[in-house]
Symmetry: C2
Subunit: 238 residues, 2 copies
């Protein structure tokens, strides 16, 4: 009997935002698989989980993901090697009948590296049992903390990773709520655009929601630029 | 001491998708407030909650919401009266120091009637303590069940309640993932548009995710029209 691979969203940081279902599966699975790719996301998922139960009896598999933008061919080769190792480690255990819980911060469907793994594993083992358990995403958690609705009645919501900046003006005009993810790198451009569209006062910046350094700024003119980081979200509600 | 009003997302249907935090607050709060407005959403939130603990000792307040589209002035007047009663019922209990948990299916920030109440209550009692606890939305739960990522890397996600159909073509062209909510009423139009844009094969229909009549259709040519209902989502992933 081949084991089941669970992909489990553990929420954005507050361990109490884990669901009952996630907790049950996490406690039962003998192996936890933890994404390791970007420095920023490394151990946070595991840290969240370890706050709700003792993980000392679990085998931990680190999942290294291939990065799309890499500096050198050697670096790429070494990442590819690690990636293949990850896939093999996972398949080996599943084929022994062990269940694996792949844990991811937030929700597996929202910008989680899990889906790279998903496609690759199904390629190698098409009959694999994969069960995806949704988690609270940082988007929903940020809206809750900021006290804003993302949408009511007929309102349209756009979610944009702001490595992307073309067309942003049209999107702002078409949608009622615009959620900009990982906004830290292009904040100056965004601030100018919001100013131009007279939307500065309709915007809320949230970073590290539910983590210990959570920061919420409802007046962008007072935004502390030291709080700009990878886990940053801007909600613009017209 | 005035009580705290909690707005609690209980997830889309599966009681195990309730978070640890939501469960803790629900067990402690003496009053549960349940939205009652549209026939469809009436008692589902309460049904979900009652599957994880015994609600017999709770006071249940039914929250009637004003409907924007109503058939007659008399109907509107009676709804307004009920709405004022709801607001008064809630404030009375909070002013007695009782905590209230307003429960909503899915997530409070995603098309929940809670925010109508939120604004009105803060108007009447600006110092009110309101705490919003995010829940798993039907969007994230549907993506999980369908095994599709809503976004990876730089992908842009649009969430559209499909009472809205203008501009839909441009949105399909601009975004990588399009989530259409409450798609049941305009399904024929949407099917034509998907066909025109050659996106039929990239679309998945999900209704009543996590409920006992959950229905997932990955081949829209075989869509069972009897399964079209209020709790329907179409995920188009290009």
């Amino acid at each position: 009997m081949i084991g089941t691979l669970y992909s489990i969203g553990v929420g954005p940081g507050d361990p109490e935002l884990i669901t009952l279902k996630a907790l049950k599966i996490l406690k039962e699975a003998p192996c936890l698989c933890v994404p390791k790719g970007r420095e920023e996301g490394t151990s946070i998922a595991l840290e969240i989980v370890s706050k709700v139960f003792d993980i000392k009896d679990k085998e931990i598999i680190e999942a290294h993901f291939p990065m799309k933008k890499t500096k050198s061919p050697e670096h790429m080769e070494s990442l590819d090697k690690k990636w293949n190792e990850t896939v093999e480690n996972i398949l080996n255990r599943l084929r022994k009948g062990l269940d694996i819980a792949f844990i991811t911060i937030g929700d597996p469907s929202i910008y989680s590296t899990f889906y790279y793994l998903y496609d690759r594993l199904l390629e190698l083992q098409p009959d694999l049992q994969i069960s995806i358990i949704p988690g609270i995403s940082s988007i929903n958690a940020s809206a809750a903390k900021a006290g804003v609705s993302l949408g009511l009645a007929d309102e349209k919501i756009a979610i944009i990773p702001t490595t992307y900046t073309d067309n942003l003006k049209t999107i702002f005009e078409t949608f009622d709520t615009i959620v900009l993810m990982k906004v830290h790198k292009v904040m100056d451009k965004i601030l100018s655009l919001l100013d131009e569209l007279k939307l500065t006062e309709k915007s809320i910046y949230i970073s590290k929601v539910g983590m210990k350094d959570e920061y919420i700024c409802k007046d962008l003119s007072k935004l502390n630029k030291e709080e700009l980081n990878y886990f940053s979200i801007l909600i613009v509600k017209k």
